[in-house]
């Protein structure tokens, strides 16, 4: 991974290894909130905030606390608790200083805690041996990829609501097919820039 430059990491996280469509992380929210475009935009913004904070804090915690104390086996427990408390903190912080933003994102913040994409990015930053800056760029790439996928998906879903879908396929099955087709088109980015 060392010779891959920062732009490469960003593009790879954004398109080639899109977190939702290729890596299959964060699917619960993908199908849960994508019914309306406004909700998907809100969810993406919440994911962006929490993911940035979470991956920075967990990276520092892992390399400066867990490794010196040889407590690497506590990684899973530590990360999930850090993320859960971060979400709470951000909620309080936003309520106090950015009430407008809080009203827009408030409902989505608790949902983000159980979003596996957040925890996965924290783990992957460690597994790929990223430095702090690389980890941050990777995180932003993932968050941007999440936004692209979920917003496109909710546009398509709103159109399909009016389409004559066979009765047994209404609702979730047709959404899975749409996601499959989108995933197919994202596979087309494979090999871009020789990554």
């Amino acid at each position: 991974m060392e010779e891959v430059n920062l732009l490469g990491i960003f593009i790879s996280a954004l398109l080639i290894n899109n977190i939702l469509l290729i890596r299959f992380l964060g699917l619960c929210s993908f199908f849960g909130v994508s019914g309306r475009i406004k909700a998907s935009l809100g969810m993406s913004a919440a994911v962006f905030f929490v993911m940035t904070m979470a991956s920075m804090v967990t990276w520092i915690l892992y390399y400066y606390v867990l490794i010196p104390l040889q407590l690497e086996f506590l990684r899973t427990a530590t990360f999930i608790i850090v993320i859960a408390s971060l979400v709470q903190l951000e909620e309080i912080f936003m309520k106090k200083f950015f009430p407008g933003l809080y009203r827009a994102l408030g409902v989505y913040l608790p949902l983000v805690t159980t979003n596996c994409a957040i925890l996965a990015v924290a783990f992957l930053n460690i597994d790929y041996n990223f430095s702090f800056i690389r980890g941050l760029i990777y995180t932003w790439g993932v968050a941007a990829g999440y936004t692209i996928a979920i917003v496109l998906f909710s546009y398509i879903r709103e159109r399909v609501e009016l389409a004559p879908v066979p009765e047994p396929l209404k609702g979730y099955p047709i959404s899975f097919f749409i996601a499959g087709l989108m995933s197919l088109s994202f596979l087309g980015f494979k090999g871009l820039f020789g990554l």
């Binding site: 890596r23 619960c28 899973t76 925890l119 197919l184």
Partner: protein, 195 residues
């Protein structure tokens, strides 16, 4: 009088995957081969049984206000145990499941059962519930894995050669979406026809 339906409900009637649509991330991500699916199913079953038993055992001592963090700590303990056991005894499986083993901690099925069932019922019924739900998950993920492996590479559990021209798309990410869409669609059709 033993309520056996606590066991059987998880397999068909309240199947966590097909009916409740929980735990989608591992379901789609690791189901490209039958053996990976089975491994993931057993890992989830183990964590589910362990966490349901412990939550049920301590349900009188867990204060209501902090029950979710307590559940998360209990679950992440079992996930860490699973992670290290698998790394020690089945390294190839651990390698191919990758980040999805620690991610069992945010699998909504497990937290959901702790909250909805184990926190309110005695140990015996919690065990039955966990076994039923875990087997339901294992069954569905293994079936999806078998279908994808059969159509995608022509084998089942790495054996035999049933399809002469396998469709590579089935073991790539889009195949996962399409397979589960079909399964839910068929189930819906069956329920509408024989209600």
């Amino acid at each position: 009088m033993i309520r056996w339906n606590e066991f059987t409900k998880g397999i068909i009637k309240e199947n966590p995957v097909l009916i409740l649509l929980l735990g989608l991330c591992p379901l789609l991500a690791v189901s490209a081969t039958a053996i990976n699916s089975l491994g993931m199913g057993i890992a989830v079953l183990f964590v589910l049984v362990g966490s349901n038993l412990v939550v049920s055992l301590f349900r009188k001592f867990i204060p209501d206000g902090v029950r979710i963090p307590v559940f998360i700590i209990i679950i992440s303990t079992f996930v860490t145990v699973t992670d290290y056991l698998m790394a020690a005894y089945y390294p190839p499986l651990h390698k191919s499941l990758g980040v999805f083993v620690p991610l069992i901690v945010v699998n909504c099925i497990i937290l959901g059962r702790a909250e909805v069932f184990a926190y309110r019922n005695n140990i015996f019924y919690s065990l039955l519930d966990a076994l039923g739900m875990g087997l339901g998950f294992t069954l569905v993920i293994t079936i999806i894995g078998m279908i994808r492996e059969l159509l995608g590479s022509g084998t089942v559990f790495g054996l035999g050669n049933f399809v002469s021209y396998p469709a590579l798309i089935m073991i790539l990410p889009p195949g996962g979406f399409i397979t589960i869409g079909f399964l839910i669609g068929v189930l819906n059709w069956y329920r509408q026809k024989y209600k």
